[in-house]
Structure formats: structure tokens, C-alpha cells
């Protein structure tokens, strides 16, 4: 199998997996799911690391560092903000929680 076809196979199979895993999500989780998926594409960070590590000119290094910065913000911030949303969904005791007087 040529490497191109190998990558194409991975690409097509990933499409099907992506379609399949989220097909039954409830409305309540739309926002956290979008946010979680958003965090996952922050993995583009490793692309930034690869190109910067191979850079031989200052100009490219600067662009690469910007890409790493943006990727890291997307990746880390994305997971943290998703966790904060989901924190709210944890099961709580039936009794009304203590009065918060804000």
C-alpha cells in the first residue's frame, strides 16, 4: 500500500468515526461537546512544534513560535473551559443547596 493511500484510508475512516460518536448527543451537551472538540483540534500545537524545531531562519522561527502560542492557547484553554462547563453538571444533593448570598 502506498503511503498516500494509507493516509487516505485513515482520513476516510476518521470521518466515519467522527460522524458516529456524536450522532446521539442531547441538546444539553451541545455547547460542552463543541468546546471539547474545539480543544481537540488544538493538537495542531504539535505541528507548530515540528515546524519550529526544523526552522533555520529567524523569520520562520517567529512565525512558528506564534503558531505554538496560538495552538497552546487553543489546546489548554479549550480543555480547561470545557471542564469548567461540565463541573456544573455534577450530580448534587436533592436538598436545596446553601443560600449563596451574592
Amino acid at each position: 500500500m502506498s503511503p498516500e493511500i494509507g493516509l487516505l484510508t485513515i482520513f476516510i475512516l476518521s470521518i466515519f468515526v467522527g460522524f458516529e460518536v456524536v450522532s446521539k448527543v442531547s441538546t444539553v451537551l451541545h455547547t460542552p461537546l463543541m468546546s471539547g472538540a474545539n480543544a481537540i483540534h488544538g493538537i495542531v500545537l504539535i505541528g507548530g512544534i515540528i515546524v519550529t524545531a526544523q526552522s533555520e531562519s529567524v523569520g520562520v522561527t517567529i512565525l512558528g513560535v506564534i503558531a505554538i502560542l496560538l495552538g497552546a492557547i487553543n489546546l489548554v484553554g479549550g480543555f480547561v473551559v470545557t471542564d469548567r462547563m461540565l463541573e456544573m453538571f455534577k450530580p448534587r444533593a436533592k436538598a436545596p443547596a446553601k443560600e449563596d448570598s451574592r
Binding site: I10, A37, N38, G47, I50, I68, L75, G77, F89, K94
Partner: protein
């Protein structure tokens, strides 16, 4: 690249799939998210062992640290109400990163094979659209610019022109790779992203964020092809595919045809003007009147909206609900799928205020109840109860399922002013004889109503 790095990538890919799977069910959502984070950590450590060399290592590590700290601070500090725009912003920077990486690879490797060039061009175009589009949605949601659809004169033709120019530049670049042409393409794509999002307004904004999220996923996948990195291909494609599904699910939940969001920029649809109804008479009342109406009702439904969240009045509303329940009034919360700014946003906000989960009723469940309800209290919501969505074919929200608040015996609106809602359309219900308005900040008004109710 060593086998171990490849295996680490495989593990990361599996963790990402499990993350998306977990995030689709309420029980496993939080663990799912943690799994995704673990996958990202595994992959980021592995990449340093993939033989990329140690050139620029210190700057790379510093950039990762700074980016992570910025990301953590931004997401810890953001108010729950401002969450949607932060997600939009994160999405935008991800798209920007993907576009930059392809630009660098182009400068670095120069002319590659045709498929690699196509992937480069694709990443640059889609990444740039996602970047500039997300920035505009951020500005809209942050209300740094108008949240209404922006229709520029001849905007449709400009959009078509820019789209055509982008495609021409993209094809040209594949045929003859030149750096200046890449920059032209980048600028065109950035411009197109802005034009694409400007005409979108109101309830369509979250759909666009989700769509741009899928776009970024695809551009990350394409950058994976450019860099010959399997994990980027898998992760990007997963997000692209699941993001597409999610976009269409969201569009369906809001009753919006996806095509109108997608191609809004290409059609020159006029928006229903806010009307001249500002001078029409409305019935307004004081907190005491509202307290009496609520206190002596037997069934009350609360409709919380974004205005409630902005005023941080969730816990005051819960206090009112508790008080009414003590008096023997049946109280439910009616949650529209897009109450707040995004699907599920209101659930998160109310959960934060410890509102019991079983009192939150979804739209389909609560709609038949309105006709037997004495008083509906609408707090800071407007578009989701606007009957224009049913009746007025020209309204931008036409076709969106709404809460049938107008079926109740009496309706009380807590509003800051007569200003129309996020979608910018007049709400006929405000002028209905059975409607009472209590003007003021939602928290102020609710506090006064609670005080009045206690002394009744």
C-alpha cells in the same frame, strides 16, 4: 520516527475518540474531556521524541508555557455568560495556528508535490477563514460590535467577488507556487471569513461557531497531510466530521435551515426592521403587583433568558422559585434549547445557581403546559418567546421553535428596556393586553419581587 512515538500517537488518537464519545453523554462528559486532555499531553510529549531535533528547543518550551498559561487564565477568569465567545476565540486561534503552519511549511519546503500543495492551500484558506470569522463572532457575542446581521451595500457582490478571487488564487498557487501569491491568498481568505460571518446574526451565531469549529478541524487535518503527521490527520478529521454533525443538530434544534446560515453572505436578504412600535402603549407594573400575581397563582412557569445571566440573577430567581413553592405554587423552569447564547448554555448557568435539575423542563415537555398556567414570568428572554417566529415569514427568526408563552393566562416580562432582543426584532407579545412589564435590571427587579412576596 520511532515505533514508540507512532504508538503514542495511536494512543492519543484513541483517547480523542473516547473523549468525543464521553462528551456525548451527560454521565461521562467530564471524564471524556479529561481523556481528551490526557491524549493531548501524551501526543505533546511524544512529539519531542520523534526526531525533530533540538533546534530552537528553549523558545519552543517557553512558547508552550506562555500559551498554556494564557489559555488557563482566560478560561478560569471568564464569566459563565461569556463562555461562548471564549470558545469562538479559542477556535479562531486554532485555525490561525493551522494556517501559519502551512505557510511555514510552504516557505520551508518550497515546491512540493501537487497533493501536498493542494493540502497547503486548503489549510491556509480554511484556517484563515476560521480565524477571521471567529474573531468577528467573538466581537458580536462580546457586543463590541452589533450582534445583528450586518448587511453592507452590494455586500453580496463583494462576497461573491472575494470568493471567486480566493478560488482563482488557490488554483493558481497550486499550479505555480509563489510566496507573494500565498500572501495574497491569505489576505483574501481572511477577508472572506469576515464577509462570511458579518451577515449572520442572532440565533445563527452559535451555529456559525460550530461550523467554524468543524472548519478548523479540517484545516488541522490538512496540515497533518502537509507535515505527514497521522495524529493531526485523525484528530482534525474527527473534529471536522463531528463538528459537521453537531452543526446540523444545532441547526435542527433551532429550526434554522443550515443553508441560510451557510449562504447568508451570498443572498441580499433584508432584515425586518425593528418597527415603529416604540410608541405603542404597554402595560407596566411595580414589583408589588408582580409579587401578588405570582403569590396567588397556582401554577407559574419561569422562562429564564440571557438577560438573567447578564444580571447574575440566577440565585435570586431560585430564591423566588423556592418562596413560591413554599406557598404551594407549582413552579417550573422552561428552558428553550438556545436560551442564553448557545444550546445548553442556560442549563449550565442555572446548575451554577443550584437549581434542582428536575425543575428544568425542556421546550417540548413544557409547551403543552402553558395553556393551563396562570402566570409566566419571562426574565431577560425575548426572541425565544417571540410569536413572530410562528407568524411572520419575514422575521429572521421565522421557523425557530419557540416557547408558547402566549398561551398562558398572564405573562410578566422583566426587561431592562423596550430594546428588542439579540435577533433585533420587535416582540408583539409585549403589547398584548395580558402582558405586564416590569422594567429594570433583572436582579434588582427580582430582589424587589422577593421582598414584596415575603411581606404578602
Amino acid at each position: 520516527m520511532s515505533v514508540w512515538v507512532q504508538l503514542a500517537y495511536l494512543i492519543a488518537a484513541i483517547l480523542f475518540i473516547l473523549a468525543l464519545k464521553g462528551l456525548s453523554s451527560p454521565k461521562n462528559a467530564r471524564n471524556g474531556n479529561l481523556m481528551g486532555a490526557l491524549g493531548a499531553l501524551v501526543a505533546t510529549v511524544a512529539v519531542f521524541f520523534s526526531g525533530i531535533g533540538t533546534r530552537n528547543l528553549p523558545v519552543i518550551l517557553i512558547a508552550i508555557a506562555v500559551g498554556s498559561i494564557v489559555g488557563i487564565i482566560a478560561s478560569r477568569r471568564v464569566k459563565m455568560t461569556a463562555m461562548p465567545q471564549l470558545v469562538a476565540l479559542f477556535n479562531g486561534v486554532g485555525g490561525g495556528a493551522a494556517a501559519l503552519i502551512s505557510v511555514i511549511e510552504f516557505l520551508h519546503a518550497g515546491e512540493g508535490s501537487i497533493p501536498a500543495l493542494i493540502a497547503t492551500v486548503f489549510t491556509v484558506v480554511i484556517g484563515a477563514i476560521s480565524f477571521s470569522g471567529s474573531i468577528v463572532t467573538f466581537l458580536k457575542l462580546q457586543e463590541l460590535m452589533t450582534s445583528r446581521p450586518v448587511v453592507i451595500p452590494a455586500g453580496r457582490w463583494i462576497t461573491i467577488l472575494v470568493a471567486v478571487a480566493t478560488v482563482v488564487a488557490a488554483v493558481w498557487l497550486v499550479i505555480s507556487p509563489m510566496t507573494w501569491l500565498l500572501i495574497v491568498l491569505l489576505v483574501l481568505a481572511l477577508f472572506f471569513g469576515v464577509l462570511f460571518v458579518l451577515p449572520v446574526g442572532g440565533a445563527d451565531v452559535p451555529i456559525v461557531i460550530s461550523l467554524l469549529n468543524a472548519f478548523t478541524g479540517l484545516s488541522v487535518a490538512a496540515s497533518g497531510y502537509v507535515l505527514d503527521n497521522v495524529l493531526l490527520i485523525v484528530a482534525g478529521t474527527l473534529v471536522g466530521a463531528s463538528g459537521t454533525v453537531l452543526t446540523s443538530l444545532m441547526a435542527k434544534a433551532m429550526g434554522r435551515p443550515l443553508t441560510s446560515t451557510l449562504f447568508g453572505a451570498f443572498s441580499a436578504k433584508a432584515v425586518t426592521a425593528a418597527g415603529s412600535g416604540e410608541d405603542r402603549p404597554v402595560r407596566s407594573a411595580g414589583p408589588n403587583d408582580v409579587a401578588i400575581m405570582l403569590g396567588f397563582a397556582s401554577k407559574v412557569i419561569l422562562v429564564p433568558g440571557y438577560g438573567l445571566a447578564v444580571a447574575q440573577a440566577q440565585s435570586t430567581l431560585r430564591e423566588l422559585a423556592d418562596l413560591l413553592t413554599e406557598r404551594g405554587v407549582t413552579v417550573d423552569y422552561a428552558i428553550h434549547p438556545v436560551a442564553g447564547r448557545m444550546p445548553g448554555h442556560m442549563n449550565v448557568l442555572l446548575a451554577e445557581a443550584s437549581v434542582p435539575y428536575d425543575q428544568l423542563k425542556e421546550m417540548d415537555e413544557i409547551n403543552p403546559e402553558f395553556s393551563s398556567t396562570d402566570v409566566v414570568l419571562v426574565v431577560g428572554a425575548n426572541d425565544v418567546v417571540n410569536p413572530a417566529a410562528r407568524a411572520d415569514k419575514t422575521a429572521p427568526i421565522y421557523g425557530m421553535p419557540i416557547l408558547d408563552v402566549d398561551a398562558a393566562h398572564q405573562v410578566v416580562f422583566l426587561k431592562r428596556s423596550m430594546r428588542p432582543g439579540f435577533a433585533g426584532i420587535e416582540n408583539e407579545l409585549l403589547f398584548d393586553p395580558k402582558t405586564t412589564l416590569l422594567f429594570g435590571d433583572a436582579k434588582d427587579s427580582l430582589t424587589k419581587v422577593v421582598a414584596a412576596l415575603k411581606s404578602t
